[in-house]
Amino acid sequence: MTSAALRRRAWKLLEMVTTPLLPSDYLDLVSPLRAGADLRGRIEAVHPETSDAATIVIKPGRGWRGHTAGQYVRIGVDVDGRRLWRAYSITSPTNRRDGRVTITVKAIPDGKVSNHLVRRATPGTLIQLDQPTGDFVLPQAKPAKVLYLTAGSGITPVMGMLRDIEFDDVVMVHCAPQPQDVIFRNELHDLVADKKLRLTEVHTDTDGMLDIARLDELVPDWAERETWACGPAGLLDAAEEHWTEHGVQERLHTERFRPSIVVAGDGGEVTFSATGKTVDADGATPLLDIGEEAGVLMPSGCRMGICFGCVTPLKAGAVRDLRTGEITEAEPGVLIQTCVSAAAGPCDIER
């Protein structure tokens, strides 16, 4: 018998010992970051960057496959007892010796996870991790000239790149309301002092929003540069238009943090993605009824919110709890009780 087969057998036996739990349920108690465990990380330090941004140092579990500069990672953090998932760019270089990775988080107003991470997260806390992903990365072949165009926390993936690989000719245009809001400001200025970077800071509180046409003056050779841009949608839209207009759109790489923002309204179009049905729903009828009327096979039980026999994944959009008015937005792993939830805007139910 091969050793892999032997190991499988041993594991099977172990499963019989621990049934109905799994061996990992016990192993997690002592070694949550071990190889073979669900991917997790442990927060080891939280360093403030600005008044509302902080860098979180994470020790990833043994299953971590490593990242490419510019990629992001989805993390699951328990905020007020509830697990919430968000994606953050990785700001540490890929060759960090101690194997730690960092993300740098800016607290956005009313942002549950970002405020938690910046202001309340403590070392020692376990968080859930996904493997890093994203194609906002540097190419294999080194470009001769590089432009980084960033705004606000859009600097984070670019910082991961800057720290990872040195280029001969790098220009960065970064927008932030005021000088003290520039994340990584000291480090950027050190790079400038070492002549490794040319930096233009645009302080939008005094200078106003960056007008993309000003690039001609700030970086005259912008069109020759391989460009990575990350920031609010307005900036990226303008950049894409500008680059296309000049016929150099293939040189522009953009990263959007929040592709679609859910606006919770009253009712909307409901898609039952497993069955491929789409119907209009009002904001007061339970999705269970909506689905059944549309002929979708919906699991159900008490129909009054107590038996949890109707829980179904919410893949996109938002729903409102008809009892409390609470809005639930789609996130991976979010399940809703269809008998007491109504559409709060367009949504996608996996049935």
Partner: protein, 372 residues
């Protein structure tokens, strides 16, 4: 269905007002759920696992009597925790709000021969929706007992004290059979129903795994302590079964608890539904340890009003619920465990004999009454 309707003094408006007041209690807890609650259930789960692990470890040496005693006691408590404070409540979806896929009603499996999926259907859905409705809620006597004067007597009921005792000893098997609705499904035609067969198979699989673990694998691992470990596991299962059976009997069987007729729930309003839960359940009073070991089902009334609120909150909810009972002049049936168990058993004995006609029930003064 009782000759004297203890809720007759309430007007329809009062019942709806009561419903609104209960909704408000519920909303308050929901709004306040947070980190502390999550930490509580995580702590309980981790403590249960450690206790089970250590107890099983000690049982490897159960050939020595002190180790046997210690290990058996630990394992019994661990199994009770698994079924009561953790399993029952997780499967109710009480912790689904945490969005932790490991502590979720859709993924949890418990140390019990009834697979979670089936138990959720018969318990969460049938029992909790139709609490104490004769003919709809099979928890009323589990189909093997007569628990109300108005139910028809059959000579079979003569043996019900014995059935009930056997059921207590092998409670988890009783529940599994009950979840399968074995009684009616054993008829020839039903037996072949593919859906029933699939469910029966699932139960078979679960039983096999559970028995293998408790009565083969762990004894084998104990080597020379094979027999004593076997005896220890059997004892722990017995203790757990009798304990859960007793606690559960206290929930709906003691004197003073009402049962309802099928017609009475037609077009039931939210307020009426709440009222039925209030009148159909009974509590157990006692210390915090007692509440914990019953999985907070000692707060059965509160649990039936709000089956999906986190169990650690029932104690604080109970204070408010009890005040409502008082305000609306209703009887809050509660008492210490021995008294409630005795009351339930007495009923089992009494109803094993036929009664001539439905007796006019007078409130039982031995109960602790909270009535105007």
């Amino acid at each position: 269905m009782t000759a004297i309707d203890p809720t007759a003094h309430l007007t329809a408006e009062q019942i709806e007002e009561l419903g609104r007041e209960l909704d408000a209690i519920r909303d308050e807890v929901i709004a306040g759920r947070g980190e502390k609650d999550a930490a509580y259930i995580r702590k309980v789960i981790s403590a249960q696992r450690k206790l089970e692990l250590v107890s099983r470890g000690v049982l490897l040496f159960s050939i020595f009597p002190p180790a046997w005693l210690l290990g058996t006691a630990g394992l019994s408590v661990a199994k009770i925790m698994d079924n009561m404070e953790i399993g029952h409540n997780v499967l109710h979806g009480q912790w689904d709000w945490m969005r932790d896929p490991k502590i979720h009603s859709t993924t949890w499996e418990w140390d019990h021969v009834s697979p979670s999926e089936q138990w959720k259907h018969s318990h969460n859905e049938l029992h909790h929706t139709y609490t104490n409705v004769i003919g709809k809620d099979n928890d009323l006597g589990y189909g093997i007992m007569r628990v109300d004067e108005d139910q028809k007597w059959h000579p079979f009921h003569l043996g019900q004290p014995l059935w009930n005792f056997i059921n207590a000893c092998f409670f988890e098997y009783g529940i599994a059979a009950y979840d399968l609705e074995l009684g009616k499904n054993l008829h020839k035609r039903r037996r072949r129903n593919p859906e029933f067969r699939a469910r029966a198979k699932a139960v078979g699989r679960k039983i096999r795994k559970q028995v293998l673990k408790d009565y083969v694998i762990h004894p084998l691992l104990s080597g020379p302590s094979f027999l004593t470990t076997l005896a220890a596991t059997f004892t722990a299962n017995l203790v757990r079964n009798i304990w859960s059976h007793s606690v559960i009997m206290c929930g709906h069987f003691p004197e003073g608890v009402q049962v309802f007729e099928r017609q009475s729930i037609k077009g039931e309003t939210r307020g009426q539904w709440y009222l039925r839960q209030m009148m159909g359940s009974a509590n157990i009073s006692g210390s915090r340890a007692m509440h914990f070991m019953t999985g907070n089902l000692s707060h059965q009334i509160e649990h039936h009003l709000f089956p999906d609120l986190p169990s650690n909150r029932y104690a604080e909810v109970a204070v408010k619920v009890r005040a409502l009972f008082q305000k609306y002049e209703l009887q809050y049936v509660t008492g210490p465990l021995p008294k409630q168990v005795f009351s339930a058993w007495r009923k089992v004995f009494r109803l094993s004999l036929p009664n001539k006609k439905p007796k006019v029930k007078t409130p039982d003064r031995k109960q602790e009454l909270v009535a105007g």
